[in-house]
């Protein structure tokens, strides 16, 4: 019963209609510039918006013809109140205002390979808190790090912006099984880092960072491990 209700509600939903304002718009067979143009919609034609894939919008004409129109051309179409149609997409302006960031990075942690996944939330354009999970894959041991960092980004309105970070975490080291069987060792660690973020395109950004891990051991001397990583992130 619920299913039927939700289905009919979905079927009853009216797709948005926009009007072509350019002399004409090209309609392609697929969502990509390589696909052939098979039809055009003239000025004044009503387009029903069906779906969107990256920079392409699937539209339906009154006569039932369906095709894909470039987002640049769709931005110049008119809504029923006479204003240009707006689309949600990643841009430099969205990058400046973004709050959430999810990314992956790979690099070197004191001689071992490191793979990191992280998510971050920005309280202000400059200050963000991030949770990072790293996997360490070395020659004699593997391990992982869970860390919470607070970062400060400088020049957050520019395309390329440096940042510094401070954090705490836990490092777990597990010797490889082909060597002696040994227990996992756990260490607390304090982390200082610096890096750079760069806006690439849409919702994609590049990120590179260098971090210094102060590993608190139960021996007389604490260890100092250096790490560098490169990766990419998407933001919302």
């Amino acid at each position: 019963m619920l299913f039927v209700a939700s289905f009919s509600a979905h079927a009853g939903k009216q797709n948005q209609q926009v009007k072509v304002a350019d002399p004409y718009v090209d309609m392609r067979t697929g969502p990509g510039r390589g696909y052939p143009i098979f039809h055009i919609a003239r000025r004044g034609a009503e387009l029903e918006l069906l779906s969107r894939r990256t920079d392409w919008v699937q539209v339906r004409l009154v006569d039932g013809k369906e095709g894909w129109v470039d987002l640049q051309q769709m931005r110049r179409t008119l809504q029923d109140d006479g204003s240009n149609t707006k689309f949600n997409d990643g841009s430099m302006a969205d990058y400046v205002d973004h709050r959430w960031e999810v990314g992956v990075m790979g690099g070197d942690f004191g001689g071992a390979n490191v793979l990191t996944g992280y998510g971050s939330f920005a309280f202000t354009p400059n200050i963000a808190v991030e949770l990072a999970l790293s996997q360490l894959l070395g020659n004699v041991s593997n391990g992982h790090i869970i860390a919470v960092n607070l970062s400060h980004t400088f020049f957050s309105r520019s395309r390329i912006s440096p940042f510094i970070s401070l954090g705490v975490g836990e490092l777990v080291v597990k010797p490889q099984t082909s060597l002696v069987q040994a227990d996992n060792r756990r260490y607390d660690t304090a982390i200082a880092g610096l890096g750079v973020k760069a806006y690439l395109t849409r919702r994609l950004m590049f990120r590179a960072e260098y971090k210094d891990y102060f590993v608190f051991t139960d021996r007389d001397e604490n260890e100092d491990v250096r790490e560098w990583k490169l990766g990419f992130s998407v933001f919302y």
Binding site: T29, P31, L49, L50, R53, Q79, F87, N88, L115, N139
Partner: protein, 215 residues
Amino acid sequence: METRLLGILLVLTGLLAGSATAWGQSAGRAADQVIDPSVERRQIRRADIDSENFEIGPYVGMLSIEDFGVNTVVGLKAIFHVTEDIFTEANIGFSRAGNTSYERLSGSAPLLNGSDRDYRYWNINLGLNVLPGEAFLGSNKAFNSSFYLIGGLGTTEFAGDKHFTVNGGFGYQLIMTDSFALRIDVRDHLFELDVLGSKEVTNNFEGTVAVTWFF
């Protein structure tokens, strides 16, 4: 003299009363303006439209684990299309290693036991659509297609350890309907393994077929 004073008084009263009325009128106009702005506020609306930039689906294929034979691999892939040319992909896959030639011929104790033969991996990749096009089936059917190059990093869990893994390859995507696509992938997974005495880089070729759903 008195009449002149009276006159001035009358004029002053008149002026005061007049200005009071004028003030009242202007206050009334100001109040009107607050309620009805003469410039209409412009509403920015975003097109109400479904974005389908994600793709998810299972895959099945064959994985050649170096020295351990060719084995069935199953997995799940998730893709996010950043632009029409660039996409990111995450995979998790499972397989199980067979016997090495050495184990079969020598009849000695197996090199790996039980769960050590399980082969599990995950990776995150960046892909580039290089040859977008259309494929034709007969004279009435056309499917959108794309050839892509892909590579990335991840981890392989095999022989009781986790190994840092680099993978790279190419693939072909055929969009069957508006919502479903077929992906054929060829990858090489490279990682260091020391099961057979010395530590060496192993090449593990994989061929898979995936059915993915856009949402």
